[in-house]
Amino acid sequence: MALNRDEQSPLFAPGVAGTLRLIVYLALACVLMVLDHRGGWLSNVRYGLSIVVEPVYRIAGLPSQGFQAATVAFADRQRLTESNQRLREDLLLANAKLNRMASVAEQNQRLKELLDTQHSLSLNVQLARLIGVDLGTFRHRIVLNVGARDKVQAGQVVIDARGVMGQIVEVMPTTSVAMLITDPNHAIPVTVERTGLRTVAYGSRAGDMLVLPNIPVSADVQAGDKLVTSGLGGRFPPGFPVGEVRDVAQTPSGTFLSAQAKPAADLDRSEDVLLLHDLAEQDGPPPLAPNAGPPSGLAPDPNAPTTPVTPTLPKVTSPTATQVPARATSSTPAAGTTP
């Protein structure tokens, strides 16, 4: 930094004092930055100051909101009719597909219950709107109009109609900030839908693309392959579309293939987004079953956990009934032994 220290200006010269003050302020700023970078307590401060920050966000979001309202108001009838028609067709198509899928989904659900797997096909979501606020260029973040009061938590996944958009990184009382999947600091575990290859998609430095920098050279990845979330890592639930591979090339070192993918979600056009409520399955082993052990009939202990033995079933079947994992939902047939 070129601080012209020996500048002799007769009109104003608080020379040494000014420089000293500069150094003090710069040091203060550096201390703040280091503390914030290490401890990450900026979000706490912001949560505390949200009374000030949130109204400012709302006001700053007004121009883009007004711009949108104006686009709708001045859009010609022709275009509105067209878009309405298109939406109707989409809805019809989607409904038809849904009807066909419903029976399959039900069957799938039954089979999964038989297999004791937990994840279901139903979505538990919450609608949110974007607030048009610019959080700095080359910062891939968006502000949503729901917050801690709407029971939003950090880590929830944000999706739109086409795919995964990102995840919540910061929650304030009535707004929250989400990081997009194109942020250079973001990574999302994906699988290539066609081949089942698992890899990780990172945000790219240039902005609107995803980069998959470490695909094995022998792997089969082509342009046009669809990427979906793999569910590994326990943050993103499996099966949501993430993007589509655009081109594949060797890395300069030659040890890996590197692919570029275009995000499936409309990252800069979506206005309404969905927040997934149920997070992915926790990673790590499942919690212990609380009622493991011999049935209470064999061990007459008054403090034993409640494992009522079904009167209609013979005693021999009880141990198998108690070995059901604790996280099986009450709708599973195994849990039907409770009276």
Partner: protein
């Protein structure tokens, strides 16, 4: 008395406005062209009434901007403090520059600011930004004469002369 208060109000209002302008998004493809508004407004006040703009004020404005921006507390505080320091050093010269030279000086200051930001981000572990990163100072320098003249004109119309 009344005049002094109006002056202070006007001063505070422009600074607040600069923070709002920083938050208001531009439509998609224009995003890299957004100038760094707090710096421009602060520079105007530096040149116009240098006794009112101090390093402390720049620091406070920067911390405020950081709170809204939510990136790294102290980042903009550091950048604005450094910029105001340089601008105050050369104030007596900058004031008597013709407009195009002033614009060039502003360009230099804004570029310096970008370099500082780049250093901070790289130290923080971010990757290098794309080339569009360097457009914003140019836009700021091009806009400078208009910002200066509009603010000056408004000040004259509101008859808020000081000293």
């Amino acid at each position: 008395m009344n005049k002094v208060r109006v002056r202070q109000l006007w001063f505070a209002a422009t600074l607040l406005l600069s923070l709002f302008l920083m938050l208001i998004p531009l439509p998609g493809p224009l995003t890299p062209f957004k100038p760094y508004w707090p710096a421009l407004i602060l520079l105007y006040w530096c040149l116009q009434s240098g006794d009112r703009v101090t390093l402390g004020l720049a620091f406070c404005l920067g911390v405020g901007a950081d709170l809204f921006d939510g990136v790294l507390l102290g980042e903009q505080a550091l950048r604005l403090t450094a910029m105001v320091f340089i601008a105050l050093r050369f104030r007596s010269r900058l004031r008597f520059f013709p407009m195009w030279q002033q614009s060039l000086a502003v360009l230099g200051l804004l570029l310096n600011d970008r370099v500082l930001l780049l250093l901070i981000r790289v130290f923080g572990g971010d990757p290098l930004p794309p080339p569009e990163y360097w457009i914003s100072p140019l836009v700021g320098a091009v806009l400078w004469p208009f910002v200066f003249l509009i603010l000056d004109d408004l000040r004259a119309r509101l008859r808020i002369h000081d000293t």
